[in-house]
Amino acid sequence: MKATGTATSKRADARARSRAAGAETSKHAEEQRKKHGKRRKHRHTRHKPKTHHRVTHAHGTVGVTVPVAPVSPPAPSPAPVPSVGSPPITLAQAQRLLWRAGFGPGPGQAESLVGQPLEEVVFGLTRPSDPPTLTGPEPVNEEGEPLEPDTAWGDDHCWWLDRMVRSNQQLVERLTLIFHDWFATSNNQVNSQPLMLEQNELLRSMALGSFDQLFLSVTTNPAMLLFLNGTSNNKWDPNENYAREMMELFSLGADRGAYTEDDVREMARTLTGWRNEWSEQRGNYDFRFDPSYHDAGKKTVFEQAGKWSYEDAVRLCVSHPLHPSFFVTKLWGYFIPTAPSEATLAALQGLYTSSSYSIRAVVEAILQHPDFYEGPEMVIPPVVYNAGLLRSISRPIDTNAWAWLSANAGQQLFYPPNVSGWDFSRWLDTSTARARWEMASYVTSKTYPNPWPSQGEPEYSATEDPTTALENALAYWAHPQLSAESEQCIATFAQSCLHEPLASWERGPCRAMRQNALRMLIATSPDMQVS
């Protein structure tokens, strides 16, 4: 075993040095910017009047921060986790809760919760009655035929999207999505929609259970065994793929001194023994543990020696002193964008360990934490945005276009970009913002007023005034909350976009277009991308 301490402190030194240098760099950068700025300004005054400012909207693209577990976390504490208590829930609180712990409110849903005790509303999500109810029409493809999630490209995505749209167990689906990101597995490598769906069902069924059991089940899940080469890992040729990621991404975290490179190698040996068969016809099948493939010798992991098995591998990770802080911080980060305070982190760890690694207990605490309701916004992930728009207009899954639209927006279900999942720090850029526009447009595709109706189609009102137009557009999306600035901006558009006087034949068509534009501007407004 290598000297962890030395390696860690060396790294810490290096980091401290580069941080100092980073500060230095910023200072230089500032000077350089001033220099360049001056030079440019001078150059440009020759070309244009001074009234036109060049630098109008400087902004960076570093991404938002996502909380990560600290290198030196506080010890678990038996103190209660800070809570907002159970006041009557407000509309803003209900909306945030439904967007972050589900897939956005259905029409009138948030309004109907207002005034109920907050704790009850949270428990309604975290303690659902079984089995789940799926309300509304069954999902179909463009031709009106049932989806084929096992075989058809995109139908897997849409099958799950349908559950997000229709299930009354909104938090269960949301946690399933969270664990799909946590234990990210891509069908690009697995190449079997049935195996991916089997994993999906596993994540769903254990989403509110104990993390150690979920982790163990994922470790031996066929899709995961294929994705991270678990069945290529045997006593003759250990394959380190799963061993590394189970510590780095699933349970302990990188750069915390939690494990060494030797631990990775030893962990790979503990995980040996899984096999499967393959045939042209059946693909990969018959996943099983074969003791003759397992390295039964002594391994040393986290300085503990023993004849460890894959079950021990999971146990060793979960009982590692740096695991509880990793788990609660990672889970917290899916719901709250700012890092938990030291006291909160200590209390959440205490809750987690004293509840035998209960996911439900930790989620319940997070959903009642003051930071959840009082803290800053989060960007809504693309799939959640898609499901939310569909929910708000009560549109069932009637096309599988959502799969590629969502892929373009940065999130195709069952195809996370790599084993670390999706990058939650930068959901929005010029590519994905454009893709969200396209997605929103498709959401309106069956209900938009046609400016140029064919015979028999209704003509749009030729008299709708700007205020009514905006009200109608907001009602279309079931009255989402926009910021005052954004609503003002959109209202100004409604008032100024038609260049009166319009010829009589243009009045209806132009108003239809204005209505469609208003719907698009509301749905794609920055306000609707965050919760």
Partner: protein, 460 residues
């Protein structure tokens, strides 16, 4: 044993995704029958720009000047001189196996460590700067460019202490420092120094999302998955309403943001409207005139992106730093032989076509291409693949590249304490040289501890 993963399947899904992108091409820009801005005497672009200006005058308060769009874009384009340097950074995701791309076939130790994966002497071109080494047959295009003096090879590049995590190591390369908490990319910091506040195309990620190496503190940058398809439309929306609708979409992006997430959403809207303007002419030209490239590219999304990039540079778009992901994943823990060959076959010919295109268009003096991966792989194979290692392989390609190996190949007889290839060059030295020799910028303003890294001569 499992027939594991990869190449064919990856290709299939790439193809599907591409099919989807192509399907999007059939969508109308405006509704059929919709009149263009009649009677205004303006073309659509100018009309759009004017409307944008008018709308921003209404919504933007003091933050935005009326002619903001028009002027910002026009100026950025006008300032792009035909000599402005461009860097194209191409990421080989997953940690490519240096010992298979440039294989030390004459080393006895290589045959011992790679009984299954080892390449056979004579199956590929000899590497002229170290005759113990051989190019992978699927990298023959690189060998060809190398013989023309257009490839600088870094046979064992990395940093100390090395990291074997994909994400940590990749992050170090992206941010140009060994700091897990650093947030701006190394190219992003360069753009913060020299960039324009209203030209997102200066840092261009040719992908479905933004490359972290381009992340900036203050300047806008763009992600464009398909430059030829970068348009926006909506059901039942056309002229004369659409222009001011799109302008309002951008104007919503210029409003104040109370939180980082809000700011990201607003900035994305704002930048999208700028990129939409900037690419409008390009899109029009592409669609009307077809492909003007004098070079035939191979099929595939990666090649299409490179072809678009050459065309965009040709039209004088104000681009400085570009990032792309190469085809496939190089994380070959298993089935390495097939996966590696397939990935290289889908990447290298496209790269060579790009270089030839630049040469044919007379752009080759302006462009350098950097190929990198987060690490090399373990010399000792694991059966059918290799695990994470250190000491990777990078290339700098271009007519102006010095074409000389940087750091020798250290051999396999002596490995480091983790049984990995010993590093003979530091990636931060490469960055410093690129900043100084290519961008004529003081490296210390971008790379922390710049003074401590040796600068190889990279530009001829």
């Amino acid at each position: 044993m499992a027939k594991s993963c990869s190449c064919e399947d990856f290709t299939r899904s790439q193809l599907l995704r591409r099919g989807v992108a192509v399907a999007g091409k059939g969508l109308p820009n405006i509704e059929p029958g919709m009149p263009l801005p009649a009677g205004t005497g303006l073309d659509r672009r100018t009309f759009l720009l004017r409307s944008a200006g008018a709308a921003l005058a209404v919504y933007g308060s003091s933050m935005l000047s009326p002619r903001h769009f028009e002027e910002g874009i026009a100026q950025a384009s006008a300032e792009t001189s035909t000599n402005d340097p461009v860097l194209v950074s191409i990421f080989m995701e997953g940690g490519w196996d240096a010992l298979s791309v440039l294989a030390p076939v004459r080393e006895t130790k290589y045959k011992e460590l790679r009984p299954v994966l080892g390449l056979t002497e004579g199956s590929g071109k000899v590497f002229t700067e170290d005759e113990n080494m051989m190019w992978h047959p699927a990298a023959a295009g690189l060998a060809e460019l190398h013989e023309e003096g257009k490839v600088s090879v870094f046979p064992a590049i990395g940093y100390e202490p090395s990291e074997e995590s994909h994400f940590t190591s990749r992050h170090y390369w992206e941010v140009g420092q060994l700091d897990a908490n650093a947030r701006s990319g190394w190219m992003g910091r360069y753009l913060d120094l020299v960039g324009e506040a209203n030209n997102p195309l200066q840092g261009l990620s040719l992908d479905y999302s933004l490359a972290p190496a381009l992340a900036t503190e203050t300047m806008p940058v763009a992600a464009v998955s398909s430059p030829a398809d970068y348009t926006m439309w909506a059901y039942g929306l056309g002229e004369p309403v659409s222009a001011s609708a799109f302008a309002t979409f951008g104007a919503l992006g210029a409003l104040p943001a109370p939180s980082p997430a809000y700011a990201q959403a607003r900035n994305a809207s704002y930048d999208t409207s700028l990129v939409l303007e900037e690419t409008a002419n390009f899109v029009k030209t592409e669609k009307e005139s077809g492909d003007h490239s004098p070079v035939t590219y191979p099929a595939g999304e990666f090649a299409e992106r490179l072809a678009s990039l050459a065309a965009m540079l040709h039209t004088g778009m104000p681009i400085k730093c570009v990032s792309l992901n190469a085809v496939g994943s190089y994380d070959t823990h298993a089935s390495e032989v097939d996966t590696l060959a397939t990935n290289l076959e889908q990447t290298i010919p496209a790269l060579v076509a790009f270089q030839r295109d630049l040469e044919a268009r007379g752009l080759d003096q302006r462009v350098l291409i950097q190929l990198w991966s987060e690490f090399g792989r373990r010399p000792q194979e694991n059966g059918s693949g290799t695990d994470h290692g250190a000491g990777g392989l990078a290339f700098l390609i271009g007519t102006r590249a010095a074409g000389k190996m940087v750091g020798e190949f250290p051999g396999l007889t002596k490995l480091d304490e983790n049984e990995n290839v010993i590093r003979t060059s530091d990636y931060r030295g490469m960055y410093c040289s690129l900043l100084e020799q290519w961008f004529q910028t003081e490296a210390g303003l971008v790379i922390p501890e710049a003074a401590s890294f040796e600068r190889p001569v990279l530009v001829a």
